[in-house]
């Protein structure tokens, strides 16, 4: 399986890995067919993501896409993140082999869910 240098770098040195205490939003994404699971935690300031962290269970591309996803999320508005596309995640890891596109799917789903959760919490205040 050929992986991009960016993907391998994220896999080797995952950014923002681990849970976050008292996040402003949490969201999970699952890809049922392969049981991959991504969970994102968001810290939000003035409507924008200040920091994103992740935990994940899955193959190498999924772990790498999670790491890249935290960088994509940082600086985005919650509204933008709630609409994030799989293509944006795939681009952030330098592309994915056709058989591993689920990595971008699971990460996009989890980031969308985390953004929606943060928006719900914000609107409840």
């Amino acid at each position: 399986m050929e992986y991009s240098a960016a993907l391998l770098d994220h896999f080797r040195n995952p950014r923002n890995a681990g849970m976050m205490r008292e996040p402003d939003g949490i969201g999970e994404g699952e890809y049922e067919q392969c049981m991959d699971l991504a969970r994102f935690y968001l810290r939000v300031r003035d409507g924008r993501v200040e920091e994103a962290r992740f935990q994940a269970y899955g193959c190498g591309p999924t772990l790498a896409a999670c790491s890249a996803g935290t960088e994509v999320a940082a600086g985005a508005t919650l509204e933008e993140l709630a609409e994030i596309r799989e293509a944006r995640i795939e681009e952030a890891v330098g592309g994915l082999p056709a058989e591993r596109r689920h990595a971008a799917v699971v990460v996009a789903r989890a980031l969308q869910a985390a953004a929606r959760n943060a928006m719900t919490r914000r609107d409840a205040h």
Partner: protein, 384 residues
């Protein structure tokens, strides 16, 4: 600088230098068609028949009982379909952990009216002889069981299996692709009528394999054409490859016993090293009755492919038990048949050792696995 450690010998092996040397003339000056009557043909025929003698001698069978094929898959197909074609209908017994070459052949035969019993295995991956005894019916035409499974390496109780099939007068086909040239096979003591074996698992080239067919076994050809291989398998033989196969078998005759002892020691060193330093791991397969070089482990709450990729980045080649194909997970059907829970089965990694493996390699692998497993578990929201 990473070491380069190849621990995927059950998938394939490098061609032994002596094998390569033996093969080379058959690509150029000895290129003839072994069916031709002229000198070039005779020269090729001589190489082919020497290989047949080397392999027959290794198995202690007659050279007329060896049919050459293009691979283990073809050997399995020929053995099973050949019996089925000769009998036209009936019942076949196999197991749930066979190679796909056997399983899918049996499934295909089911669509043609044959019935098949897929025997379960115990938690070590072993067929229970009493299950086989119960499964055999008056219309059973064949029992096809592998000698050792490629994933976990558990050796099947062949003597007992053979005693049962002989008692019932049912032909026994054994897929020995993973054991041929690695552990002793006695076709008479095991009561084997058909035996599949392959070249590239034992430092021979890819694309060459064989099927032992005991004299008197009633079977039909499944590939038609010329009169090659005593009309049992049509098609010009891969002479250069088979010359290499013969040489590979000759070398195994010298090296097999010593290497089995050495690899068993290294295999156990690997498992003990990992078990001592990583929590929530388990060894799959029989603790002792398994292939010398095979060590299949499960890391709970970690996904196989992430371990394999992590090790690959350290220069270590292993194999994932669960395969993520086209975005859908395929937990190993072998581990599932052995009753492993999914959260274990999803984290299986197979290390298969070989001639080049050293103790230093094993220590490097252990030292690489320990932090990798810890790192992947730290990332995981699924806790062991």
């Amino acid at each position: 600088m990473n070491r380069s450690v190849y621990l995927d010998h059950n998938a394939s092996t490098p061609v032994h230098p002596e094998v390569l040397q033996a093969m080379l003339p058959y690509f150029s000056e000895r290129f003839g068609n072994p069916s031709s009557v002229h000198g070039f043909g005779r020269e090729a025929r001589e190489g082919l028949e020497t290989a047949r003698e080397q392999i027959a001698g290794f198995l202690r069978v007659s050279k007329d009982e060896i049919v050459f094929t293009s691979g283990g898959t073809e050997s399995d197909n020929l053995g099973i379909k050949g019996i089925a074609a000769a009998r036209r209908s009936g019942h076949i017994v196999t197991s749930q952990i066979e190679h796909h070459a056997v399983l899918r052949t049996c499934e295909m035969l089911e669509t043609q009216g044959f019935t098949v019993t897929y025997l379960p295995v115990d938690e070590c991956g072993m067929v229970r002889p009493e299950d086989l005894e119960r499964a055999i019916r008056p219309d059973t035409i064949l029992v096809s069981l592998m000698h050792a499974n490629s994933e976990v390496g558990t050796l099947q109780p062949m003597s007992e299996i053979g005693r049962i099939t002989r008692g019932h007068g049912v032909p026994l086909h054994v897929d020995a692709v993973q054991t041929f040239g690695k552990v002793a096979i006695d076709v008479d003591a095991f009561g084997i009528d058909l035996l599949s074996f392959s070249g590239h698992k034992i430092y021979g080239p890819k694309g060459v394999a064989g099927l032992y067919i005991r004299k008197g076994t009633k079977m039909a050809a499944v590939q038609h054409g010329g009169d090659h291989e005593r009309r049992r398998r049509a098609g010009t033989e891969n002479v250069a490859g088979l010359v290499g196969f013969g040489k590979a078998v000759e070398v195994r005759g010298r090296e097999m016993a010593g290497e089995a002892v050495r690899l068993t020691g290294l295999r156990d060193r690997l498992w003990e090293g990992i078990r001592a330093r990583v929590d929530e791991v388990r060894l799959n397969g029989h603790p002792t009755l398994r292939l010398p070089g095979t060590c299949n482990m499960c890391f709970r709450s970690v996904e196989s492919e992430s371990i394999v990729l992590g090790l690959d980045l350290k220069g270590i080649a292993t194999s994932a038990g669960s395969a993520c194909t086209s975005g859908s997970v395929e937990p190993s059907y072998v581990l599932v048949a052995m009753g492993l829970p999914l959260d274990w089965a999803m984290g299986s990694v197979r290390c298969s050792l070989g001639r080049s493996t050293t103790a230093e390699d094993i220590d490097y692998v252990v030292d690489s696995v320990v932090p990798l497993a810890a790192k992947l578990r730290a990332l995981s929201p699924v806790k062991a």
